[in-house]
Subunit: 336 residues, 3 copies
């Protein structure tokens, strides 16, 4: 693409050579003269003096510091996000059905769809236009995939999973497997059939090796624009509101309801049967053990220290209640 084409695609104002050919994207540090870079954070402005980038996406506030061609945008990071797809390195899937795919004869595969090698599609499945099912995909009976869903290789959807348009499911994800539901009787666990489904909205992303369980009776639901990273556990009956994001290794226990526009840091864990309101941010590795009714940032845990210090402090944690009582006692004494 030329800089003029990129400017047009992004609605950016170009200051520089419109005919310069851009062949890739790179950071300010790594970019060469045929690559485009961006500056989204003033903290990186020290690289502007020395970058070899052919052009830089920049906001008006930082544009003056750019020594090379500039594409002016209010939100250069968003511009980078949008233009990045033109430089995608993944091979574009070709429409068609691979010979080795096993597809129930009643399923209608749109001509625009791409079904990879060794895929299995069971009866009653509905596939939207331009759907891609990567190699080794398994689409269980009666699943519904909206237009433009992209399933990377080795995605497993159990029966009855439904997703909207433009969902992006990464390799190893398992959606719709049985929730962990048992009735205890005389110390033994009696499995409960999980007869709810999983319903994903439009533009949902599900990360690699993530597991989203089907509901016990009601459905597990992820709203529009929900983004889930790798190795996340979403238990049965969970509901996640629109545009909420969860980083890697998050766990959400059963029947919890999470609002819209929330963010969960990596490895945070949310107990079951809770309600988390809209606009909540939870920092990494936090343990959420109760409802959160106010938007804001929440945290738990303790940061790292040397093992020597930690041993002493962690031992005192066991005495913390006693310390609090002793403190109170002293206060009484000194008041008296």
């Amino acid at each position: 693409m030329t800089l003029a084409e990129i400017a047009a695609a992004l609605g950016a104002e170009l200051k520089g050579d419109p005919d310069l050919e851009i062949t890739g994207l790179a950071t300010l540090e790594a970019a060469g003269p045929d690559q485009l870079s961006f500056i989204a954070n003033a903290a990186y402005s020290r690289f502007l003096a020395t970058t070899r980038a052919g052009a830089v996406l920049a906001s008006p506030a930082l544009a003056d510091q750019v020594q090379t061609n500039v594409l002016l945008l209010d939100d250069p990071y968003l511009g980078y996000a949008r233009i990045s797809h033109r430089f995608e390195t993944a091979p574009a899937p070709r429409p068609g059905v691979h010979d080795t795919a096993v597809i129930d004869p009643g399923v209608r595969v749109p001509d625009s769809a791409s079904i990879g090698p060794h895929v299995v599609i069971e009866a009653g499945v509905s596939l939207g236009e331009r759907v891609v099912v990567g190699a080794h995909g398994f689409i269980g009976a009666n699943c519904v995939l909206g237009d433009d869903c992209l399933l990377r290789p080795r995605v497993t959807l159990a029966h009855g999973v439904s997703m909207g348009r433009r969902c992006h499911i990464l390799s190893g994800a398992v959606i719709g497997s049985d929730g962990f539901g048992f009735a205890v009787h005389e110390g033994e666990w009696n499995r409960i059939a999980q007869i709810g489904n999983v319903i994903l909205g439009d533009d949902v992303e599900v990360g690699a090796n993530t597991a989203i369980d089907r509901g016990a009776l009601d459905d597990t639901r992820l709203g529009n624009g929900v983004k889930i990273d790798n190795l996340v556990q979403v238990a049965h009956n969970v509901q996640i509101g629109d545009h909420t994001a969860m980083a890697g290794k998050v766990g959400v226990a059963g029947s919890t309801r999470i609002g819209r526009h929330c963010m969960f840091g990596g490895a945070s864990v949310i107990s079951g049967h809770l309600t988390i309101t809209d606009g909540v941010q939870v920092t990494g590795m936090t343990m959420v053990t109760g409802d959160i009714r106010e938007p804001g940032v929440y945290s738990s845990g303790t940061g790292h220290m040397t093992n020597r210090e930690w041993r002493k402090n962690a031992a005192r944690f066991r005495q913390l209640d006693a310390m609090a009582r002793r403190l109170k006692e002293l206060e009484k004494k000194t008041e008296g």
Copy 2:
């Protein structure tokens, strides 16, 4: 099923219309007139007045509050668990071997077994009656699957894994992969061949994308009725006693021995080489760093608070040992 048939199946006393046809299960809130619901917890009794359910499973203590047909049972939740399987929405696997399955010619596949598309079964494998191996299953050499084992699509069993009857293995589970064993030599890691196996008892459940490693020398063992949720890590040589359950994202490090009838909350982590006795409950996200010799409930960690409060308190945690010493000093002073 009619209510009379359900009553007979559960040994319940029916108060109401024996001929009412029930087509599904639902919560009290969601159920319609052709659906069965249940009340297992007095906290939900407020829904009894307004439920539209065709019938409700209830204990004698709550039955009077039900306005519709009642099925009386001592343990309605257990009744719900048992009857739920009649309403399973997953398609029943048909016996037979799919054309695309690759099965070692020496393996005997019972006529009652169901082997899905693209399955691979290596030499020396023993398959019980009515075994189901879902699509993309891999059964390594010399595995043994007891009668009625159900492997959902995309389960991987490395060589030599053995399981009893009625085991239920969810999609993405990997059982029997190499334990993480190395001998350090001059700062480099020398891999140790993992020549133990994995042995599961009867009625074991293994969740989606869970990993259970084979033993280094001895076997990794899960007893009868053990239930493991999604994304759990069970390291090499671990032993888990009968009817112990682990929620999602639990991790058990190598060579730890866990008793019978234990329960581990989500994301709890148990260090290696420990012994946990029978009847231990560990709450979610707890770090178990030493043996547990007494039954009971155990916990660690701290619950969430606002990030602002947390920053202050977590900073003080670093001073906790010093605070304890200062408190002691003050006590001395005031005593004197």
Copy 3:
């Protein structure tokens, strides 16, 4: 193997019967008269008196206590690691390409390579000598696998992943899937194409169901001899130095740089954009929230206690800052 052959293979001094045939390895407790065992830790020397092992690998310091044949070595644990591979129980993969594999016609498969059933290999892939791709493997376009790489069944490599020689990738691992990168705009997440790759050095191990994301712009890099256990999350742009090891369930957030010869205990979590120097050890379940500039052992969190004690102490943690202020106040008073 005879004891003489084992002694020769390990460069060990044999005290005993050179012709004794050894058929397996076992612990001192479990070994029988045709099995070899080892003593690597004086804590286990109590088993030396009663072991039925045919022979024992032992250091000179402990050799006198062995009542049976001894193989003398400076580092018996290393000797055990090295000899263990002679007793590997996994069937040796046979060279050749399975009929059901789908391989781009332009890919050259060495005669020494073994390509299992239902494998998919895309265009532009380079395979080294003696490479093994287990059943259901997916090798995306333009991947490079060095000599002697061993991919267990069901490994997924997205396009452009490169690995050196002798890498060992366990079942369910996903390497090179898209990093979790989005630009927020009006509360919605705009996906950023992840155009970096993943580059693994020689002798890298990647555990079962582990996910290693491709870089956003730069590459995600794991050095030589890096060992990663099961269910680990390595986010985009992470760099891990040579011979660093990570136990199960570790998570490393985006763009963090980790040094050489580090060790991360199970379920520890490292925040994004950090720098961890060489030689750092992090204990299990630690939350690393800032750079670590000095080698040493680091920890966080608190160990388990009874739930009753924990409730009291955890409640006080919320008051910790207030307690510290009150303590200070008291100190002022008593000084005055």
